[in-house]
Assembly symmetry: D2
Homo-oligomer: 355 residues x 4
């Protein structure tokens, strides 16, 4: 069987595994204060442009980067810690209705006391207008104190269905957030697969300059596990480590996380792995189009969505695993086909031939 159902089925990139092997018996201090973690934090801060202020960039670029990068084990944890950090008890988080925090984290946000203010979207992407409307609706509510105050905006890049925001769209959302002084946080569980899409017109640095916090996904992108949270806006750095520890997110052997991200951001490994997955996904996309399968979502990242007839699905499932989204009618099923950093050329060729 060849698996295409998700992007976290293999272990880690061989380079990452080598790093574990190489350092296994070293002794380092715990909780992310080891040399590997410190170096990885510095490398990531630089890649995100947090160390040298440039023209037109927010003031905080020129400030120090201490506390700008943290490593956490997983995505739900990262989202929960960030949102719990940013919001006051009377505030909620604006998100797309299909956003991961709204549907697939067992109410982790509500468990920490906050409402998800879900806005309807067509393809998982919020618009600047929507965000502004939601903010204004609250401000002009005659019973303002009886309703939740929007306290931040959460979006995913790419979204749950593999869509990405254009630079212009992000700039517009960012502008609204800054005008109304609500922080903008970007969930980048598949950030590399978004930025390496041929459709992406934004760089890591630009993305970092448009939001207050975001995370660079590792789990789905070549690490064994782990996410790198980047706190661009220094306003949100104070006391952050308390929140990580309180949530059970501070790994005792913190170096495991630092080491992985250091490896991933050496010699562009992260980007090469990302580009590979996207290339394979686009091969599948092309084949789907060529052979007349519908594209349920116009994704140019590592997730592709189509609809199979029962007959097609039954035939394909003898060799391949997909993620079933839903039965669209008695005869058809919508599926997701995922690639990742480890997807082989050969397996994709087999799938294409079988389609």
């Amino acid at each position: 069987m060849i698996h295409f159902e998700c992007d976290y089925e293999e272990g880690c990139a061989p380079e990452v595994l080598q790093a574990f092997i190489r350092t296994n018996m070293e002794q380092t201090v715990g909780y992310g204060l080891d040399p590997y973690s410190l170096q990885a934090k510095q490398v990531i801060a630089e890649l995100c442009g947090l160390t040298a202020g440039g023209q037109g960039e927010p003031l905080w670029r020129e400030q120090e980067t201490a506390g700008a990068v943290h490593f956490l084990v997983g995505g739900t944890q990262t989202n929960t810690v960030v949102i719990n950090y940013l919001l006051r008890p009377h505030q909620g988080v604006i998100a797309a209705d299909c956003g991961h925090i709204n549907v697939h984290e067992t109410g982790a946000i509500e468990h920490s006391g906050h409402k998800v203010l879900a806005l309807p979207t067509e393809d998982g992407r919020l618009t600047a207008q929507q965000v502004q409307d939601a903010l204004l609706q609250h401000l002009y509510d005659p019973n303002i104190e009886h309703t939740i105050q929007p306290g931040m905006v959460y979006l995913s890049f790419p979204t749950e269905t593999g869509m990405i925001y254009s630079k212009k769209e992000l700039e517009a959302i960012s502008a609204v957030c800054r005008q109304y002084r609500v922080p903008l946080y970007i969930d980048g569980a598949r950030l590399g697969y978004g930025l390496m899409s041929p459709q992406a017109d934004i760089t890591l640095k630009e993305l970092a300059s448009l939001c207050d916090l975001f995370y660079i996904g590792g789990t789905k992108q070549g690490a064994l596990f782990g996410e790198a949270l980047v706190i661009c806006n220094p306003l949100y750095r104070k006391d952050f480590r308390y929140f990580i520890k309180q949530s059970g997110g501070m790994l005792a052997k913190g170096r495991l996380l630092g080491l992985q991200f250091l490896t991933l951001f050496t010699d562009d490994l992260y980007w090469r792995l990302s580009r590979h997955a996207v290339t394979q996904a686009l091969r599948i996309r092309q084949a789907l189009t060529d052979k007349g399968y519908p594209l349920s979502v116009d994704s140019h990242t590592n997730q592709q969505f189509t609809v199979f007839s029962n007959e097609q699905l039954e035939r394909l499932e003898r060799l391949f695993h997909f993620s079933v989204i839903e039965r669209t009618d008695a005869d058809h099923t919508a599926v997701r086909i995922c690639t990742d950093w480890a997807t082989t050329d050969e397996n994709v060729t087999q799938l294409i031939n079988a389609l």
Copy 2:
């Protein structure tokens, strides 16, 4: 100015005031353990049919009623305590999207850690089918543990817009809840205004037999303040007082609540006050219809909803206050007109004449 904007603008029914005057200098123990509270609890338990099991009634009817009735100060508090009591941390509450807990309690439910699983409704009323669909959708979710488990159902009688459920509709919802073993809780902030509606085909006892918990609103119904929570199902009585105290809802001078409800449920005062308000509301409803104003909601309880042109509204607002719902277009405004136990015949006549 004559006020019709809400149903909590006056103090309390004269009989309730007299009770305060009569007992003011008495000394009683605190926290709801005084004789007035105990007597009021007994009276309400009997009215709700909790003391003598009848044919076809749930088994628990035959059990004792200790802990079956509690008095709390307000509605948001009552809702929060009940929901926090019923749900486990991984569970949420099914409610209409316009339900009070979803929109007008500043996220009190989420603050206590639980997601409101809001379902869309036309007029604020859930259907049994909707509830069942929501329960089944969760049960068949392939990522079941990544989503919130529906742990109870919340509905309002009447709804936020004055609509009431028929006995048959409540029976259907109740049956679904019992089938899937999720408790049903009814918010009765305006319970009397619902049960005394000419459209109501259900009694207090019947309502009590169909749900697990409900509250009898006092604040909007003749009390100075206070709500009487009735826990029909003995499963949900253990340790309940801890939750009231923890939420800051245990009034030191608990007798103030007992005394009020004892008075309200003496000589049918509660029902007479309720009927009075509904009668006045229906006079307004009739006048609106007669004079060609639209009824935005088909309510037969104490809240009436219509639309005024700017000209009409401007003229009426010289004498009367209404609650503005929204500007429906540049020339029209949707408003709510409320009566309550204290609304005078004369004020309503004035309004009718002015329409």
Copy 3:
């Protein structure tokens, strides 16, 4: 039976009752925005010196007082809302180990997510040195982020056992709090009984100038129910009403609270009622001393503490109710004797004669 076990057994001062009677059928807007509440807030702000900045007073004295006073229904609710407002999720509240929030509020503080950092005390009073030590211990903890950050200081005036802080003691604690920038909050459930003690050397204004927030107890001091929260430091006023609503603490008929406090602070009623209770308590204290009963606590406020032999207790309990603290040994019982604004001269005389 004559009751001396607590200070919330009667209704309210006759003047307060008259105010309810006088205004019962008036129509006012809800949620504390009515004229009575607004006026009461203004009166209290002025009494606390929040309107005109004086020499040596903190800068914020000169600022406006909007949002400086709020009315809540009860003490547990007030404490929970304030502490939840002030603390961030990784912070805890420093309090005496016998503080009300640590022992008698069913973990309301923890329920809202915060640890009570309880310090041992002899008589319920914290010292400035203790507070400073606790703050420094955290700052120098090598695992600082693994421990709760002290985020505020809570103290009671008077304490649970009727003790009061001297002006000098409060100044010292206040100075430490300001040096380390942690807000100081004073629980004044029995504030009048403290300030009217002959031992008190501090005024309401002085107390207000030394802390960031405090509340003036009504429930135990002549109101039917209610507490007046004073937010001296404008830093802690923003969005406060959201927190009241979210906690279920925003009374629909808010004027009931405003009206009571307006009455209590007209013609010094609050202070006269307070002084009366203290006078009666000190008569009991004197009698206890004269007749050789031990004073378990050296209280000069409305609560007196002594120890009775079994024989004495049995005899006295035929006529009087006390609060039992504990059996100190097989033959003795420690009790609390409370007076309040309603305690009559005659009842106290009877008790004294019976001792």
Copy 4:
């Protein structure tokens, strides 16, 4: 430098690393439902005696073991999830005052809404009498509902200072817990180092039969990271996975945890690693005693505690790192010396020679 300050400074046991290498490119489903995890759960359930009921064992032994074992990433997370699962909102957890949950988890327990009911201890060990007294004190509290209800007991084996409970002591605590129907949970972050102590008179199976839940620590015991939670009592298995996911504790690549524990419990690796660490620690203990250094704690597990003079410490710190506990006086410092599964014979010999 040779490090003795903690037991999580190296990576993982070579066998565990080999398992990662061997399986790295395999594709498996996520979230702990892969074959490695399932197998590891089965192995651990059997080792704990959960599969075959024996004489005198609790009834639940005979039941199935589905849901009996879960893998989580770290200790704080495991403690928080378990305690949040077991307690209702009005309940707290009884623990030693120096228990990890009370002092070193940044208030994670309180953040999830629960009070830690800390009892004073001499060496971190609770006694059955203490637990019973705490339970009875609550039951006989006249204001019972105003105080937190003890809902479970937490203890560590070994304690924070390396002490272990005898079988008899655990039996006594277990009996009290069962009598009062409060679950008993054992934090086994260093379980192997406790069970492999020559002083231990209890087996894994016996420990499992005496408590309701416990966890087998991996992070400090040869795994790269991870803890194995064992839910002995089936009452506490329902819906557990929701809680893991909600807390951000459900690792996407769940097999990483299963694989490690499967390896650790193959060929007694876990026990051999544990015994090794204890043996090295006891060599140090012997040397300390022989050379006249005091033992601050009478530990026979992998943590040793002594006091060095400034001169001694300064000399030793040129070659070795210890954990500083506190300056006991101007001239002395209390330190902790840790061994773990990776501590070499040679390094210990060097330390002994240097003492």
